[in-house]
Symmetry: C2
Subunit: 394 residues, 2 copies
DNA sequence: GTAGTCTGTTAAGACTCTTACCGAATACGG
DNA sequence: CCGTATTCGGTAAGAGTCTTAACAGACTAC
């Protein structure tokens, strides 16, 4: 229920917000165009521009001449309103990128992870990338950190993680205090899905699932245009999917032959299982993703391997499709990406025998640092939202 | 973007809507209380009441005396604003219930289904129930029809149905024309979930899954408080879940030994499979649900049967939990309902070995006509929404 | 019976939006 | 080269919604 009463100020806030969103989406605009887009009159659009300008949210970036009358001034969001940082923390490396509220990355960095306190590690990398960008830490509005493991929707903390034993409870708050800005910890696969939806293969798809097939197995579920995290943040933990072809789990905390936690689907298509399968088919390569690439390069002699891999993947995809019926399935992660169009086609064919729905199956279109991209996008999005609600409040 | 400009009228519409919602939720209210709830001043609340009264949406239903000052007038929604009808169509019976916008059912009926044109069948049952209620068909605002089968989110038609071969494409539009009001066709399991959320075991639970275990197998997925239908309306078709313990499907259009379409999970826990399992354990009863009831009554001798049934169910529940991580799982359908607390407990225990999440597993709390209840609730909800948007428009 | 309290109304004012009008700048056509 | 049409930005007047303040009347409490 909307607690706030419908006062005239609310109206102004709504219109300011709408104008801001149009400026973000459509780039520099004149007062007149802004009026058209928001549906407001010329006069009101002018007042609105003055307000936003006084707050330092927008600025004149030029004039648009060529038309009949006098040249109109072009207004655009001031990129330096706030800055947002995305962080991707994997087993042994930590990456970070910073950008202004308009989107483009202005600096990024990557360094090996030390075994230190995560607060210190993250503080250092954030400070470094902000320094590179030439922006003070005080102007930082949002930090989004991608990580393996499940994030508790209640506390925002990591409840457990395969790879990062140092991540303790209370980390979320500690980071927020340390950095002095809003901090969000998010599952890495979810961030990859956000990147895919923003600038990858899933643009404008409301119902989609991203399969991350790599060292770990995971999925991100987007339904009705919204990322679904589940009640305890464990949505998409498809490593635990009970599937035919691998024994049923008897103890949820057991590890597989390669030291990975997970259930029967993990045993079927985890990196270890894929390597093993490749070996059994006589394909020698470095790592599971390498094996897939080698198989693709080898042509028909490796068909049996790819078919079996596709068949295994299809079983997991089928389970997800039976539950949520997405319009699109994206295969990502290093193995998924390596499989490319060919593997997707095979999975799609196998899927047709298993379920009565026919989602498109495509490889990821975000080939460079999908998790970092997703983190940055999320950070920008959140900082925009914070700014807009601050407009509404004042 | 539906860019309605932020004009003062919008404000009024928002406040009218808010007041209307409060009246629906909290019953009869005085002008003063309405002001408090909406956050508006006394004066504005009064104006608002006058407006709604002039439109015939609300009426005085009494006075609240006993306080210090003069007795305040109590206003309530006029139930006769619009009427909504819910219809439940199963294999051989059709049920319907009608209610005003305030909710309570004022008439209901049930009759055997003839093999006629569905438009005629539905028209007849709607006319009958409206006649019983003493309301003209012209005052009907919404009809919601529950049915087995998948409903195409694009057209609102049934794309295929196990049991109702007469349902043709274009039925949705034909019904709308015939009845002269808004018509919605919805999957029966989804409607049961809506009933469960409104007045059953899932009140105030944002992320939940309802398992329908009966003649057919299905699930309804509610995430973030919203029912998720999937891209082609096939979300929750868990009969097709590939699970261990039953052979993988080779052809999606194949039928099982009992003439039912579906995949491996259907073969495991469909009514036919449950009957078979009961027979193998020496439990004789009429139908699968009867067998479950008999087993519960028999005590420990039937434990093996119940355990195996729970184990089978748990595998499907585990798959769903791995994908969407609900806070609550409701077992419904005649078999699920028959299993009651005991079966839920067994499923919950089995689930603990399979996935690292621990949703509550409970039996349905809507024991009477859950699908019809869901249809009625949905119809009322939609007619409320239509009324509210009509307020905003005028 | 009187005082106190609460209801509902009226009056004045604040805030937002709108239409109507105006002066100035710019491009186009003769 | 100059007049005219067009567009930009601004001002003024007005309509709609909300708010606070003050008041008349009804009802209870003592």
């Amino acid at each position: 229920m909307s607690r706030r009463p419908g006062t005239p100020e609310l109206l102004r806030a709504m219109n300011d917000r709408s104008a801001f969103e149009h400026l973000l989406a459509e780039g520099p605009l004149t007062r007149g165009r802004l009026g058209e887009l928001t549906g407001l009159s010329k006069v009101t659009a002018s007042q609105l521009v003055v307000r936003l300008q006084q707050r330092g949210l927008i600025e004149v970036v030029g004039t648009r001449s060529g038309g009949r009358g006098p040249s109109a001034e072009l207004y655009a969001i001031r990129p330096g309103c706030t800055y947002a940082v995305g962080v991707d923390m994997v087993l042994d490396r930590i990456k970070a990128a910073v950008c202004g509220i308009t989107g483009p990355v202005i600096a990024h960095t990557s360094r090996p992870t030390s075994n230190d306190d995560p607060v210190k590690v993250i503080h250092e990398v954030v400070a470094e990338v902000m320094g590179q960008a030439g922006v003070g830490l005080s102007e930082l509005g949002q930090v989004v950190i991608g990580t393996t493991g499940v994030v508790d929707p209640g506390t925002g903390d990591v409840t457990f993680s395969f790879d990062l034993p140092m991540w303790h409870r209370g980390l979320h708050d500690a980071l927020g205090k340390d950095l002095g800005c809003a901090v969000t910890i998010e599952n890495d696969v979810n961030l990859a899905a956000i990147a895919e939806r923003e600038e990858g293969a899933a643009r404008d798809v409301a119902d989609m699932v991203l399969f991350w097939v790599g060292r770990g197995i995971g999925a991100a579920v987007v339904l009705g245009g919204r990322l679904q995290r589940g009640a305890s943040g464990a949505a998409g933990e498809i490593g635990y999917l009970p599937v035919p072809g691998a024994p049923l789990l008897d103890d949820v905390s057991s590890r597989d032959a390669h030291g990975q936690l997970g259930g029967s689907f993990q045993k079927l298509v985890g990196a270890g299982a894929v390597s093993e399968l490749a070996e059994r088919h006589g394909i020698a390569a470095d790592g599971a993703a390498g094996a897939v690439r080698a198989a693709l390069a080898a042509g028909s002699p490796a068909d049996a391997f790819l078919n079996e891999l596709a068949q295994r993947l299809a079983v997991g995809v089928a389970a997800v499709c039976a539950v949520v019926d997405p319009a699109l399935v994206v295969l990502a992660g290093d193995i998924g990406a390596a499989g490319d169009e060919r593997l997707c086609k095979l999975v799609s064919e196998a899927l047709g025998h298993l379920v009565p729905v026919t989602p498109k199956v495509v490889p990821t279109a975000v080939r460079e640092d999908p998790v970092l991209r997703g983190a940055v996008i999320t950070a920008v999005d959140k900082s925009r939202d914070a700014l807009l609600t601050s407009i509404a409040a004042s």
